[in-house]
Subunit: 372 residues, 2 copies
């Protein structure tokens, strides 16, 4: 579009359009289109969004691994890395790896540091999104209320957005697979079980940011298995990776990936246990489907690698217990992005922030301050 | 504000501001402020929103009663009525009452018909909000897929918005009692049990419009009471008014209002049955609190008139089964608007539509067509 077309279509004054275009050009978010950048004289007339001009860093921290990527504003991955890393090492060593890895990946892309416009990070525990702190995270010793954005901004002076791993997975699945669906639930089944909720097109975090914390909902078959939370019969105590491993009682089988290996080798007891875990997840999911009426439910996390055996158990219970109208057009599907969905969602979260009016206003104020 | 101030604060071109102000003046949505309307010459400089200039009609249809009100754009009730009316009489007689009552209440207010800008109607069953039709409503014979807006628009050529009774109650509670809360759940407990969901500040209807349909979620104490839906142990089969009445087994006690009368008379069996119904509602609400993490839960509907006995049972289970972080700042409160919340929510729904950019654009097109 030209400046004149922007003024006509928006109703904004020509002077407003001119100053905003100038700002977006200086921030590199738009660029002249179909010609070279002018170095004086009249500005070029056609303008376009400049997806390639800026990049964001996306980080997905799990319990025992970390993924990082540099992604441009269209969502294209320019460089990425995966590493085994224990979140229980505490925030300082883990976040040092994060900043060093961003530096290294930026070098790989050949982009200057100034091109980095934002950083999105997912953490494997409850997060206060507004401050970027983990709150009483059960598997993250040393992280409680640690100021993650402040630490990262010592190395990179850009906006740093934090959310929990399940929320960024939900964002990643919506952004890459279901951009037209406004009502999507992502279930992550691994060491714990959690849900990411997109309702009315927006990620829902709830009043205190604990929305999606479904691991301690009681399964209705009335088990008396004791959960670490103190209650009995919680979903996580019956259907998460360690719970299935405990039921199997095999040496060396302690978590979701071990269970998945057994299922893939055709072990009948493991297949049956995973199917029962699917039914227990389906029991809770049936209530969720009745309550929030999603169009799509995506099943992700390490346990989802068990494939059809888990999905069959989930579908069995959901179709048995949910109302016909709520399930008529419901799709229950495995995650396609798989282990990538977290890092893609962290990128989507950072990109949405970089392109938000608030962030552009902030960047504009910083430009002015730097010019003084 | 003056036109010049509007241009400065919005960045819009002066010509854009002038034409939009002219349109809003012609629609009566804004008016000159602090002086008489000019009848020629220079337009008055100060403008204000004109809450009193237009009104909406709000209708709350229950199973056996109907409420109607005329409300101005600030939400102030100008005239209202309540009548016993059986929804099972079918759409034509019920909607004839609706249109006749709107006419009569408009006369009472002394306002011309042209001041009516929209109509909001709540129905006691599942509604397809986009088309305004009831879909397979269990207690509304003859209403299935009946085009409610088309029928009403034969009498009043204004936008007609339809939603179910629980959704409009949630809107009414938020609009009048909790305007600053973005995450609110309204539980209606009466002949059925349903929830209205406000998450992220928006009413959530779900992918198929069935969100909040919690009556057939299984209660975890594992009852084998058969529900009309064919499953066993559904919330509605245990805790709705008719279910409590059945347990009490008294002659003439068949629904929520009879149970409430017994509780008010101090009947111990009725008090205990209502408290158990509260626990069953609390069992399902605990899952909802874990899942969506509301800041406020409002308990409404005829059964809520039983007061503290119902609330105590609900709170008991929610605080026992929900995660501490999710309940730390949670308020569980009785409806203050009570039987008025439905009609106030229907008004809020109609007002929000009348002031929406789409409705203003539509009204503008009709003005132009009328001028031709």
């Amino acid at each position: 579009m030209t400046r004149a077309e922007l003024a006509a279509s928006s109703g904004l004054a020509r002077s407003t359009v001119a100053s905003r275009v100038d700002l977006l050009l200086r921030l590199g978010l738009i660029a002249p289109y179909g010609g070279r950048s002018s170095t004086g004289g009249r500005p070029p007339s056609l303008l376009a969004v400049n997806n390639g001009a800026r990049v964001v860093a996306a980080i997905d921290l799990g319990a025992r691994h970390a993924r990082a990527a540099i992604v441009d504003l269209s969502g294209a991955v320019l460089a990425q890395d995966r590493e085994d890393l224990d979140i229980a090492d505490g925030p300082v060593p883990v976040l040092r790896w994060v900043t060093a890895t961003i530096d290294r990946l930026m070098l790989q892309t050949g982009r200057p540091r100034a091109d980095l416009a934002g950083i999105g990070i997912g953490l494997p525990g409850p997060v206060e999104h507004s401050t970027g702190r983990a709150i009483n995270p059960p598997i993250m010793p040393g992280w409680d209320r640690f100021d993650v954005p402040q630490f990262v901004r010592r190395s990179f002076d850009v906006p740093v957005l934090i959310d929990n791993d399940v929320n960024i997975m939900a964002l990643g699945e919506q952004d890459t697979q279901f951009p037209d669906e406004d009502d999507l639930i992502l279930i992550k089944a691994a060491t714990g079980i959690g849900a990411g909720i997109i309702a009315g097109g927006e990620l829902q975090r709830g009043g205190q940011g604990t929305a999606g914390d479904i691991g301690h909902i009681r399964v209705s078959r009335g088990s008396d298995v004791l959960c670490r939370c103190g209650n009995v019969g919680c979903l996580e105590a019956l259907a998460a990776g360690p719970a299935i491993a405990r039921v199997l009682g095999r040496p060396g089988v302690t978590e979701a990936t071990h269970v998945v290996d057994l299922v893939r080798s055709g072990d009948l007891a493991a297949i049956q246990a995973v199917r029962q875990a699917g039914r227990d997840i389906g029991d809770v999911l049936a209530m969720i489907v009745n309550f929030i009426n999603p169009s799509v439910v995506v099943i992700g996390g390490a346990l989802a690698e068990a494939g059809e055996h888990l999905l069959a158990g989930i579908r069995e219970e959901v179709y048995r217990r949910s109302l016909p109208l709520a399930t008529e057009h419901l799709r229950i599907v495995p995650s396609v992005s798989g282990e990538q969905s977290g890092v893609l969602g962290a990128a989507a979260m950072a990109i949405a922030h970089v392109l938000s009016p608030e962030a552009i206003e902030q960047a504009s104020a910083e430009l002015l301050a730097a010019a003084d």
